[in-house]
Symmetry: D3
Subunit: 239 residues, 6 copies
């Protein structure tokens, strides 16, 4: 079976500037080849992700990481939405829901990819909660934002967790032809790659390769990304 | 086996004005026949649920929906508690907990029915969280409200989800004799039934009938409602 | 809420001669008070359950244990069905299914109580598999035994596990008034109670009391037994 | 997203002659439109499924039901494999595995659809176990049958349960255009449809329609079939 | 197998002053024997836990309970961190996270024990959420508190629930030699033990003994405490 | 925390000759360093695992694989039990249970490691079922074999699945110092390593390394093996 995204618009709502690269950029890139439109929304500024020997002053980190995320999105040919919450301070609220509702209404996705609720990082889970709520409210006229409501809510997939901890995938997307673009995107995040000798930091490129190779091996192909569709009313979009 | 509610007081804490009709009104009605006292608490005003061609000005919707909910509760012979939070803006907080604690203390339920945490709508989940917390605090003297504390917390059941998505029931209540009253109650929600040609709106009566017939078929009867008891200390009331 | 068994016929299909006492006899006894008819089917002869210092020759154990089970069933006022498979050698087969189908057809239960598939003992799991299959086939005319087919399959509950290991109950039945009868029934199993100083043997009476007190405490009463209804087509009998 | 089956070969391994119609024929038909090759393997002869007022002598039922299954397969344009085990007597064994391995090797599926292990009927579960084992052994040269081994094992999906009891779907396939063909296939099973006034028999056409409408409503379309991919090594084929 | 805590530092983050005694003090005591350092953080003041006939004025309860918790910690030889949130008003927030981050950084645990998210009390769940978030942020330099960041996040275990309701343990720690110290610690909580004739209050010592005996019996020893490691990136510390 | 196996006897009951190497040999080797005694039981002869270009005649494969398994066990310093069932033909039966009971009684393990029931291969699951049943019967005098019964049943852990598909670990054992011995053991299985250009065969050494590195990364160490303790009466040995 092959999933075609030719009539789709995919929006990944991720917590931090490099999460899409690690968890779903291969799928976004494959959808793009099919003719889909692609966007990434980054909820947090990455402002707490400073390396021990970083030359960048703390105050500048969020700006640097936004520029890196823009460069990565450009590699993919994706639109970038930058929400700008602070790392570690992201919580579900009506204000945050409306911000993401407006992103949904401007991009009008048919498929939203969000973090899994079992992911290891509190920001990932908060981003997931907000995006899940927004995926419904975006199609409800009563919630007023600058743009008009969607006709129908998008389908929603939960992305794999970092390092695959505790995640039970149900869908694997083959991405052997998209590993290279994932690596190029990741290489744009220079401030993160410089952290490679920090003890509190996993080497990103290696983690990313091992993860898509492992998911590939589980499905009998060279590389894959793994997801679980959201089993909720009108969000488990049919194939 | 037959469950008797003759010594019970049932309180359904639902998010929106017509959720009880869809998910548990048949069980409430059956309990009423046994001699139980019945109440419904509605957390949100339904103020965002406006149809595309609605003649009702947005500002009046909450008032209209409260009147409709009152009419529906009257059909059932149930007391109505109207909390009045705004749609989409319901979050767990100590203030909201105390409001619901006071409702518990005034009605003194032996069984509370709340939304399942796997339901599709963020308001349903927030209503469930608040009611679950309140179900314990209502029986704790340290949390002071106008009315005195309960002797013991009520048992608590999670209701089916809208359209049965992602819900694994553990208890089925036979309601073949109560389908008619569910329909009459639903017919009181005129502002919602007028929305039937909106694309973003499921036809309520049809959805309700299909759901109780499907649950019935699973249990070998004509109609049923489905629940899962809350497997928590003193909340999984024994039969 | 209170569950009435007044129009019911309860059949517990258990692996060994004293399993009903430990896991569901309180519920059977309560149903009997309501006016229900009660039966226990014992699948295995208990022929391997010999104590280290037992005076009973191995060859006689099964006979002794059947007599003890009869005495215990008499205490309860229950019919006893003795299947007579050998301990440790019970496997699902068409022959075993038909034997249990015939028991179902003779007793015509409205509720069958069987072991949980997560129980610790291979015989418990095999007994559960056979009884679950038989619960459907008993109502299917195509499977021919001496007695005519049932009109409808019985509802089916999974019983708690020994010592509550790994079992997630969904229904608690209050049995404070039935603990004494459980103890009297257990006292009929003299060959087992004599094993109390064997290292490989849990003291039964103590285990039984602790289990029904713990289940009671979880539900806010003095004593309870715990079950999980079988969430399968026509076997999750409605209340 | 749309799943294309244009390069696929789908094999449904079902327990009884009409199970494919109820659970996956819409998906098979949609795949056929894409250009896929389609087959149905029926494990049991349906020989116990006799109606109370049936004119067909018991001895002839299996033959009648095979003819009906052939007619239904013809409606779909599917190849039919008839295994011929007896109802209620199907168990996993090496002989049964090899029979199904040979079917896999003759048809060479890329996707196998089998019953869910949580289905209500012991035959469904046995058919699932046998087909799951065969899906691996078919690609292992060491297991010798008449036909040569597959290069790779097929992907494997678990089908919905009858009446959706206890099944948590992860994939929905939209089949609004295939409901009619499901109905035509079902109408070929005349011996079953005649049973409609038996108390022990659910009216098939109604059950089938309600199930695909409910699954459709959950996914926001008119009709759907629901599945769960098998999360096992090389059997969770990537999309 | 025997788990050695000789190189460890254990921090239990509990909601109320006596929760550690009930759920994990035996394990803390055993680790102490191995040479580990031990601390308990209490999130809420216990200010709502007033008995019906209490002589202590409500305003003094929190102070009394802090003194009792200090006495209990002294019995164990554990450091006590008193967070001082109000009962029933504990919610996840960045402020609360930073408070707990600072506790983590001052004590520098290698293993954190927190409440299970399935526990019965909203405060337990909020304490768990906050501590889980803090367990990661404590090792992230970007989150600034008075003390320097940890090198690596601690491993994290979820503790058993009160009365074992709804908790599936994966690790049992044998504590037969530590039951006495648990009882001595519990006896320090005089204000709670005086509540024993309140209807809304479980007798603590009895509950504690039954729980560690039951967990012991499940694992074949006289007494045990039960846990579930947190299956998340870098928090499921290897053995 | 560090798990010490100094007083233990570990028995891995695996389906095929190289499964222990892939899934648990690092843990066995670490236990050996602690002073534990180690054994591996291989249920199936590996007689179906013939490569496409193999020089070994089919009839000799089982003998070759037994020799390879012996050589690998020697590398580890482990006793080898060879059961000799045929690949694909392993099923739970009383005869197979007694064979494994006798192995348990001869080796007298305190910890048994068996396959997970969610593993991809029918032989793995059958080996797991048999070993789980035997783990209880080995300590029951009524089941007579050549050797006397154990005093208590061993604790039981389920091993990771091949390629980590669908397995949720609860315990990680750090094995950075044991990867080399895993590789040496694996290199003894020459007949399997020669199959590396078969399409139906995963390159074993690469799979093994990726798996223990991934499990290591999840737990924050260089290499680990993952397990889930069996949550059943007296089999979830306390730490």
């Amino acid at each position: 079976m092959k999933l075609s995204f030719s009539n789709d618009r995919l929006l990944a709502v991720m917590a931090h500037p490099d999460d899409a690269e690690l968890l779903c950029a291969g799928t976004l890139a494959r959808a793009k080849v099919d003719g889909a439109s692609i966007a990434i929304a980054v909820m947090c500024g990455g402002d707490k992700g400073v390396g021990s020997g970083s030359a960048t002053p703390q105050a500048d980190i969020a700006r640097v990481r936004q520029e890196e995320a823009s460069a990565a999105a450009e590699v993919l040919g994706a639109q970038l939405f930058w929400v700008g919450a602070r790392d570690g301070e992201l919580f579900d609220s009506y204000e945050m829901r409306l911000k993401v509702v407006e992103i949904f209404r401007r991009f009008r996705p048919t498929l939203a990819i969000v973090h899994a609720m079992e992911d290891y990082h509190a920001d990932h889970r908060a981003a997931s909660q907000i995006a899940e709520a927004a995926s419904w409210f975006a199609a409800s006229r009563g919630h007023v934002t600058a743009s008009p409501a969607l006709e129908v809510p998008p389908a929603l997939w939960f992305a794999d967790t970092i390092n695959m901890s505790g995640f039970q995938p149900q869908i694997y997307v083959e991405i052997a032809g998209q590993v290279a673009i994932k690596e190029r995107m990741l290489s744009m995040h220079r401030s993160q790659l410089q952290r490679s000798d920090d003890k509190d930091f996993a080497p990103l490129a290696e983690l990313m390769i091992r993860q898509c190779e492992t998911r590939g091996a589980q499905a009998g192909v060279a590389a894959a990304e793994a997801f679980r569709p959201h089993n909720a009313f009108k969000r488990i979009g049919p194939f």
